[in-house]
Assembly symmetry: C2
Homo-oligomer: 357 residues x 2
Amino acid sequence: MHKKLFIPGPIEVKEDVLSKMATPMIGHRSKDASNLQRNITNNFKKLFYTENEILLSTSSGTGLMEAAVRCCTKESAAMFSIGSFGDRWHEMAVSNGVNADLFQSELGSITTPEMVDEVLSTGKYDLVTITHNETSTGVMNPLDEISKVIKKYPDVIFCVDAVSSAGGVKIETDKLGIDICITSSQKALGLPPGLSVCTISERAVEKARNVKNRGYYLDLVQLYDTIKEKDYQYPSTPNLSLMFALNYQLELIMKEGLQNRFDRHLVMAEYTRSWAKRNFALFADEKYASVTLTTVDNTQNISVKGLNEELGKRGFVISNGYGNLKEKTFRIAHMADLTLKDVKELLLNIEDILSIL
Amino acid sequence: MHKKLFIPGPIEVKEDVLSKMATPMIGHRSKDASNLQRNITNNFKKLFYTENEILLSTSSGTGLMEAAVRCCTKESAAMFSIGSFGDRWHEMAVSNGVNADLFQSELGSITTPEMVDEVLSTGKYDLVTITHNETSTGVMNPLDEISKVIKKYPDVIFCVDAVSSAGGVKIETDKLGIDICITSSQKALGLPPGLSVCTISERAVEKARNVKNRGYYLDLVQLYDTIKEKDYQYPSTPNLSLMFALNYQLELIMKEGLQNRFDRHLVMAEYTRSWAKRNFALFADEKYASVTLTTVDNTQNISVKGLNEELGKRGFVISNGYGNLKEKTFRIAHMADLTLKDVKELLLNIEDILSIL
């Protein structure tokens, strides 16, 4: 039995989108391949509200997050973390020998604009990383307010991990001044995993040209230059199957309408949050609760593992807490193409299981 | 109209294999995900004739080639090239700041065991890279003879690019003493692009543990340790769709029988070579002509571009020469699940087109 996924990636993929994964192969140096990537780019520019170039990488979001910090840091990176995925970004810098300092907020809290201002005002940093939506805690950082502070430091390259938010929440990349905004296929975009995508500003590319040892496969300059020189083709063979599905899914997203899609995500989030508050508590400050997943504080001390086993028998999966938050929290993702009806069905089943557990 | 691919990747993928790409998603931290990867590993160990561990990477073959040289070189890498893909491996080392020297053979020739012996006898190198099958020239290196020489230097990590040969030609990894044997999904394995795979010896892993700045996404140690600690799961979300298709395809390959599969490839190669000799000439020395693709020397000075356009109208695609060999050669891939019947049909069409061009 297939279990409907309410986990923060991989997510439930619509059948018609899945079927595009089975599209017969084409040459990756063909005109068809160029057209495919050009269509994808045009729709991504709309989704990211940007005029900047779009890069695809056949890797998970981790690949492009590593690429951004490795390729665009010359001096030192200021890396703000509100949970496991923010910490991981710092590990990526360290493992590449890139100078980087980690600024952690308490779990469940945001990166405050004041923190960012204080850190950047030292003048030590030429790149800053911000997690938009932290999948471990269910906290969504106030990008608007943070970006206002970062704009005071025009020489700093601004990178955002939007892996679990892009496609579910409006991110006005250019208005916010984001140089590199990263996401991946298996979250709010509603596709299987295997492809990551980022926006990249001209100045980030130019900066990267002066950074040594950027590597090869995850070198943003090579990706950028190749799509420019080879008419939207890639240095290595890309994941064409996912590109077919992505192209189709982006058309569906545009048909739904971006604002409608963002509204649908908010409706699901608000419904889940109020359910969580009635039955448990929110782990995050509600003001900064994520729009794409809800991390529920397990105030009832239920067995999350037990709940998930029972849910599994009924054809649903949710996520246990991440890392140290296991059993202390559980996570319900409400992103991509799930609807309020799906969310209601899941929550009714959880209530039913809890009443008999 | 779909064009049947006789290019050296992406290749023609069987319909039932393609349909597995549309398998609904599962959680990548589930038991099902562990079982999937364990099955894949078991069959890859047979295909690579190895007891060593198998690593998958959601990247093209380039990703794992870069990973091997970056993670396992402490002193310096001796990189033998017989064409563009060998040269590219050296670029990967350089772009990571890894000490490496490039030893090129003339285009169309092999890496001789004598060359390797002379280079390694200097004692300067702790890693060696060999291209098994060079996709640009259609030359297949004599791995057997080369490996005998490399065995004289037991402290050297032996890496092989088998991207365009594994699955079509027998490679006895353990018998040859290969530490890291790399391939990717979109060549003789018969799958869409997006996943690469390698064997890795214990000693290569232990060596890598002492190498600094191995990076994150392409860190072989992290990949290795995570599958050991997390029961065949990966640090980042892997390309599950390709894993479903790969698992299915490996079962089909085992059903066909490895030796039968290798024999089928040889029959297609011999037929194509004798056709090429009758009509044009072989670019490679026949003794070392590739078993998975044939690079034809364009002695008739035909327009390869024109030929391919006409072939396209009939539903076939071949490859022009690679890089500087464009129009001077053309390439016919005969790998994965193509049969002698397919090859005959293609060659008859080429003959027909040439007679009326």
